[in-house]
Amino acid sequence: MEAAYQKLVRLESQLHPEGVQRAPLWQFVLWLGFFGTVLLWGVYAMFLCWFKGLNQTNMNDYYGFALWIWADLAVIAVGGGAFFTGLLRYVIGKDPLKYIINYAVLIGFICYSSALLILAIDIGQPLRGWFIFWHANVHSMLTEVAFCLSCYFGVLCIEYIPLVLENRKLDEIPFFHHTAHNFHEVMAIFAATGAFLSFFHQGSLGGVAGVLFGRPFAYRPEFYIWPTTFFLFTWSAAACGPCFTILVTKITEAITRKKLVKDNVVELLAKIAGWMLLTYSIAKIADTLYWGFVMLPKHGLQITDFYTNASLIYTKLGGVPWILLIEILCSVIPALILVSKKGRQSKPALVVAVLLGSMCAMINRWVMVLQVMAAPIMTFDQFALYFPSWQELATTVLPVAYGVILISLSHRYLPVFPQERELNPV
């Protein structure tokens, strides 16, 4: 038994990238087992939703969009690190980012595949999902989302494939070796395509809420055909996505107890994210002021309409629109930390900043989904409360477990971090 295990360990270790150390196999299997169980719980809930319908959720006619759509928008926003880092590395030429681009792509791949999976669960008639392409309504922001999201996921697959082919054993096969090499040669084209597609799908996700002229809480003025939320969503994804990439990198470093990316690389990405966040927060504040004091009065409304007579959970805390304030603070505080050299170089400050930066996008997406649904519009309508069912929670945790497993597998078997060997000599 012992001999068989040792043989398995020896064989398995041949799949590891060269010159790096990995956790013992039993530890890795236990780790996978835990997250695999969580994943199975989510998969069970997913099949319940598919077979029994969306009555398994606590969504209702007042909350047609709820936890899943938030999760969708949130993972797409924080997955924005992939397109933005790719743009910076391949198109703008920020060369040091080549040491973190693999991980950014992997995180993006996980986020976008999760988003597509959640969408597949979230529709009432999953077998008709293809209608969005076949009977496409070109006026709908969701159509734009579907097309750009699917295409961009294709780009992410193309960006992730060479990394898989660089596995030590696969790389020994000449065809895979050359394929990976050739993919790298043309990666700039895919990075540019990815950035282009991301601009539109991140933006159109913002447009999903921004065009709702029947929902004054979400409705925003338009530039040409796109509401301001179109640009704010793209902007925030470009700002918060890299924060999430750094955050996950730091978490991975903490779990593996290794330094995986050099500080200068992280600081460069953090600096760019900081300036993006700073400019985003200015734009966001300007947008909020215009919405509150120009647009709403045009519709006979006041900004206080959305922060009175409603549940504490969504809006009011002693008359203060706390979610709005937290959302703005989550962009301003990390921006101020990250634009300062001292802030970036302090590890605790950096971690706090990237954590807040990631939360910034998540809270913004929460507001643009749940609060939009929650705010009553007809003066005599009632506020309804929504709390997700366990099936919704399980299927939302599912992508997290899937992400952890894919990161674990990729880290163990693929050369995700090019600087790992240099930083951790065996």
């Binding site: 969306l54 009555n55 309504n137 709702l212 002229f213 519709h299 309804a384």
Partner: protein, 286 residues
């Protein structure tokens, strides 16, 4: 079909505008009896649930809201407000209803012949974006498989398809009645008469609070009421028709009438005198 009726005209958006079916609901006549809701459900094969206590996932194409002026006795007043789908025309009445413009699969459409917003059940894949877009919450999702008590199946209308789980549905202004009436009129080579196409809720209302017809047709009562002119005389006795949330540019086709100032103000946020927290009429589902 509408273009052949002789009163069509060219809209600014380039679409020939034929009929524009709409409704006027006299809130001072409505007693809140709910007959319109029952008639609507029976006419349109709306399924029921074994337990209907949760109104948040109950399908009611026509829903009666109970409004209160929030005052204590003896000044307390109640108003019942029936709310069907508003069949919004959108800005400039160009057909860009809040729901139609957002549907990614073109499963809901605006008819320039009738002004009716349709729902294509077999094309809807249940994304529910239209529900999020509708400020009147007039769209309902089929959270459950449609179920009817065994003996009720015999009563289902053959003109209306039963909707499957996982799609959105809403009031159609009893469009199947329009189709039936138009078929007959076309066969007989004449125009559609006002009485030939009436919605189930209109006919069921015992108080006669609902008037339905073509808002573009001068001979129809809805046109006369909305324009306050009947044989040269004003008919509304000072009352002014209003629509819900007019300031949002949804351009609904359902008009309301009331002599009570607080009811009119409840229709639109911009008509409020003071902060909404103080003056908001309390609402409830009937």
């Amino acid at each position: 079909m509408g273009e052949t009726q002789g009163h069509g005209h060219q809209e600014g958006n380039g679409h020939a505008q034929g009929s524009k079916y709409g409704m006027v609901i006299d809130l001072d006549k409505c007693t809140g009896c709910g007959a319109c809701m029952v008639a609507c459900m029976a006419e349109n094969n709306v399924p029921t649930k074994p337990d209907e206590t949760n109104k948040l996932d109950t399908i009611t194409w026509m829903r009666v809201f109970k409004l209160s002026n929030g005052k204590a006795f003896p000044e307390a007043e109640t108003c019942y407000l029936p709310r069907p789908c508003m069949h919004c025309g959108g800005k400039h009445d160009a057909g860009h209803s809040p729901c139609v413009s957002v549907c990614p699969a073109t499963a809901t459409d605006y008819s320039y012949k009738t002004g009716i917003v349709s729902q294509i059940y077999t094309r809807c894949f249940g994304c529910r974006y239209c529900m999020g877009a509708c400020p009147y919450k007039a769209r309902y999702f089929n959270w459950w498989d449609p179920k009817f008590p065994a003996d009720m199946k015999e009563y289902l209308s053959p003109d209306v398809s039963v909707r499957m789980r996982g799609i959105v549905e809403k009031c159609s202004f009893c469009f199947h009645r329009y189709q039936r009436a138009m078929d007959r009129a076309f066969y007989e080579g004449r125009e559609l008469e006002e009485h030939e196409y009436q919605t189930a809720c209109t006919q069921a209302c015992p108080a006669g609070a609902i008037t339905f017809g073509d808002l573009n047709n001068e001979r129809h009562m809805v046109h006369k009421v909305v324009n306050d002119k009947h044989e040269g005389h004003a008919v509304l006795q000072g009352r002014k028709p209003f629509r819900l949330l007019e300031e949002l540019d949804t351009n609904p086709k359902v008009y309301y009438l009331s002599a009570r100032d607080w009811v009119v103000k409840a229709g639109n946020a911009s008509l409020r005198e003071t902060s909404p927290a103080d003056k908001k009429p309390s609402g409830g589902h009937h």
